[in-house]
């Protein structure tokens, strides 16, 4: 088009014609339905069913349920491997379609097919469809099935994985706290990476606020899983206060358990560090976090952990937090006066800065005492800066 010739642009809506989106060809569905009913062999039925389903006509749902029920009833009469293969393919086709149509009324027929099926792929397909139709009445049964699989029962591991995959697909859509717990455990379970990744991907979609279940897992799981429960909760869409509560619980759990196992010690340390970082990032002012943070400072498992606990108390800024920090700085001041100087003064600096961060007047006396505690001029300068922060409040 010669663009230079354009003087103005106008829009016209043409009514009709392609405005008609998708009109199901009723006669095609009817024809294929009739052909299916007349088909005698599974091979014929399979070919016809593909055509019927291509119509994407929701009115075929009753026919599909009826067909699936008949197939389940006839499953005992399958003889050759070809018959079994065609039966499986046909069931899969119907189940997929029922799932796509979101045909809730097909739940019983699909579950019966699941129970009748030998093929793990068909079982998995049936479970997936149960999620697609949101068959919530089956949530508990599928949850229990996944629980059993998570425990790795005897049997063919590959088949178990395929069925577990279907359970995860279903539970992702059926949701519920117990379902969430089992999918979480599957994400850390014995399965191959593909299944575990699938479970991890399902978790955020299953619950916006899974902190209640994760708290349960934090209390009852081994250290490695505690950390994963915390991380899952922190990346969820749960409200901030719920995430903070979870972080406090994680910190308490990290302090509660003591072990001689070095690997577990590392995991517990990581749990504490992650929990403290979460309290910092979430700007926690929860009173419940004060006691475990104080304990972290006292136990002094790790210097970075300890320094972060000091920062977390500074962010908290409450009178109680200020008193805890003041107590520790007062101890440092006394040591300094006694001449018990520490090679590493990072802890003292962190305390001074955290007290400044509180902007709480209760911090004044101990900060003022720094000047008279025989510290270096640099340390005195830091304490004065902290005092200024309080004055600026």
């Amino acid at each position: 088009m010669n663009r230079n010739s354009i003087k103005k642009v106008w829009f016209v809506v043409l009514a009709g014609f392609l405005a008609v989106p998708v009109l199901w060809a009723g006669e095609a569905s009817e024809m294929w339905k009739r052909l299916y009913q007349r088909s005698t062999s599974l091979e014929q039925k399979l070919a016809v069913m593909q055509n019927l389903l291509e119509q994407d006509d929701p009115s075929v749902v009753p026919t599909l349920i009826e067909s699936l029920t008949e197939l389940v009833v006839g499953s005992k009469n399958l003889r050759s491997s070809t018959e079994k293969e065609n039966w499986t393919q046909l069931c899969r086709l119907i189940i997929q379609a029922l799932g796509n149509f979101k045909a809730t009324e097909s739940a019983n027929a699909i579950f019966q097919c699941f129970e009748a099926a030998e093929s793990p792929i068909l079982k998995s397909e049936a479970l997936t469809a149960m999620g697609k139709i949101r068959a919530t009445e089956y949530t508990e049964r599928i949850t229990l099935l996944l629980r059993d699989l998570n425990l790795k029962p005897e049997g063919d591991a590959i088949s178990q994985e395929i069925v577990a995959y279907g359970c995860i697909n279903a539970l992702e859509k059926l949701k519920g706290n117990q379902a969430y717990k089992q999918v979480f455990l599957a994400s850390r379970g014995w399965y191959s990476k593909r299944i575990k990744d699938r479970a991890s991907a399902a978790l955020p979609l299953m619950s916006e606020d899974p902190t209640e279940v994760l708290a349960e897992l934090l209390r009852e799981s081994p250290p490695e899983m505690k950390l994963q429960a915390l991380q899952t909760g922190l990346t969820s869409s749960a409200p901030q206060e719920k995430k903070i509560s979870l972080a406090v619980l994680a910190l308490e759990q990290g302090l509660l358990e003591q072990t001689g196992d070095v690997r577990q010690q590392v995991q517990l340390g990581s749990l504490r560090s992650n929990a403290i970082n979460a309290l910092i990032n979430l700007q926690s002012k929860f009173p419940a976090s004060l006691a475990p943070l104080r304990k972290v400072i006292e136990l002094n498992y790790d210097v970075n952990e300890r320094l972060n606990a000091v920062i977390a108390l500074g962010i908290n800024g409450s009178d109680e937090a200020t008193k805890i920090l003041s107590t520790f700085l007062d101890q440092q001041n006394q040591r300094q006066l006694r001449g018990t100087q520490e090679a590493d003064n990072r802890f003292t600096i962190a305390l001074i800065r955290a007290l400044g961060m509180t902007k709480n007047p209760l911090a004044r006396p101990v900060l003022q005492a720094v000047e008279y505690s025989n510290y270096t001029p640099a340390m005195v300068k830091i304490s004065k800066e902290a005092l200024q922060q309080i004055e600026q409040k």
């Binding site: 010669n2 010739s5 392609l18 008609v20 006669e27 024809m31 052909l35 009115s59």
Partner: protein, 300 residues
């Protein structure tokens, strides 16, 4: 992904029929265009008519998202077209949560006509394929093959002198007719009566279709002796856009319905809502489109 939607989308690409027209009033200099003079009376012979260049905005579906009524995405289909946007080349169906490819369809063309459709599974293994034959641009035969390339069925179509489909036969692999439909017209381009026959040539079902202002308004499915099995009613808005279709049982009980939603200035739907017999939404399909532009000279 389904047959009708596919053909519908291919139709969008091929037909060049448009819903939104963006037009441009031209200057007289456009009359210098030799093509216009060749195809239409010249501006000199019809001085009262002004040439205008209009821009046709032709939509094509690029993504179709199947969702639960609460908006959670279940599956989605991505559509790939030829570089000029005219031919649908590929449909790929994905699981929304895992992003796993579930199924794909590939279309092969001769000119603008689809000659083969290949249906592949999630591992890109052939599931089945369809081969299409045409006579004078009209689809006359479709052969269906399974994954082993064994012929499963043949569908044949016949047309009248006005290129209207008058017969559809389904034949099994051995060539025996297993079903047949006959279409009857009454001046309309679409059939008013469709008869479905069984393998023995016995009439099994009659579908009577009525139209209002050229649009399908009602379909009645009845046995040959006139007993109604079901009825489908279609409704449109003032712009002629299909708003929905409702299916009723023989006892007039509502079996299910579909509603379409459109942006104010578009003639292609943005959403399709499928409802059950109690008007409870079951599934929502959200469409995304891309547009290609074609210019055309018109006189007014």
């Amino acid at each position: 992904m389904n047959k009708h939607k596919s053909w519908y989308r291919i139709g969008i690409g091929l037909s060049g029929i448009v819903l939104l027209l963006a037009g441009c009033a031209s200057t007289p200099s456009l009359a210098k265009d030799g093509k216009q003079e060749a195809s239409t009376p010249s501006a000199a012979s019809q001085p009262e008519k002004k040439a205008k260049t209009i821009i046709l905005r032709i939509p094509r579906v690029t993504k179709e998202s199947a969702q639960f009524p609460d908006g959670t995405e279940d599956e989605y289909t991505l559509y790939t077209y030829s570089p000029d946007g005219k031919l649908l080349l590929k449909e790929e169906l994905y699981d929304a949560a895992s992003k796993d490819l579930l199924e794909s369809r590939e279309y092969h063309y001769q000119g603008d006509l689809v000659i083969e459709k290949r249906i592949l599974d999630g591992q890109k293994k052939l599931k089945s394929r369809r081969v299409y034959r045409y006579t004078s641009g009209l689809l006359t035969e479709e052969s269906q093959f399974d994954k082993e390339n064994v012929l499963q069925a043949r569908l044949t179509y016949q047309y009248d002198a006005q290129n209207r489909k008058i017969e559809w036969k389904t034949l099994d692999a051995s060539g025996s007719v297993v079903g047949m439909s006959k279409y009857y017209y009454n001046g309309e381009k679409a059939p008013i009566r469709t008869e479905l026959y069984g393998a023995g040539g016995n009439l099994e079902l009659v579908i009577s279709t009525t139209y209002t202002e050229g649009k399908k308004a009602r379909e009645v499915f009845a046995t040959p002796d006139g007993k109604v099995e079901k009825e489908v009613v279609y409704r449109y808005d003032e712009k002629g856009r299909l708003l929905g279709q409702t299916e009723y049982s023989s006892t007039k009980a509502k079996l299910g319905s579909v509603a379409y939603e459109y942006p104010a200035d578009a003639s292609v739907p943005s959403r399709e809502i499928r409802l059950d017999g109690r008007d409870k939404p079951r599934k929502v399909v959200v469409f995304e489109y891309a547009y290609r532009e074609e210019s055309k000279v018109i006189y007014e």
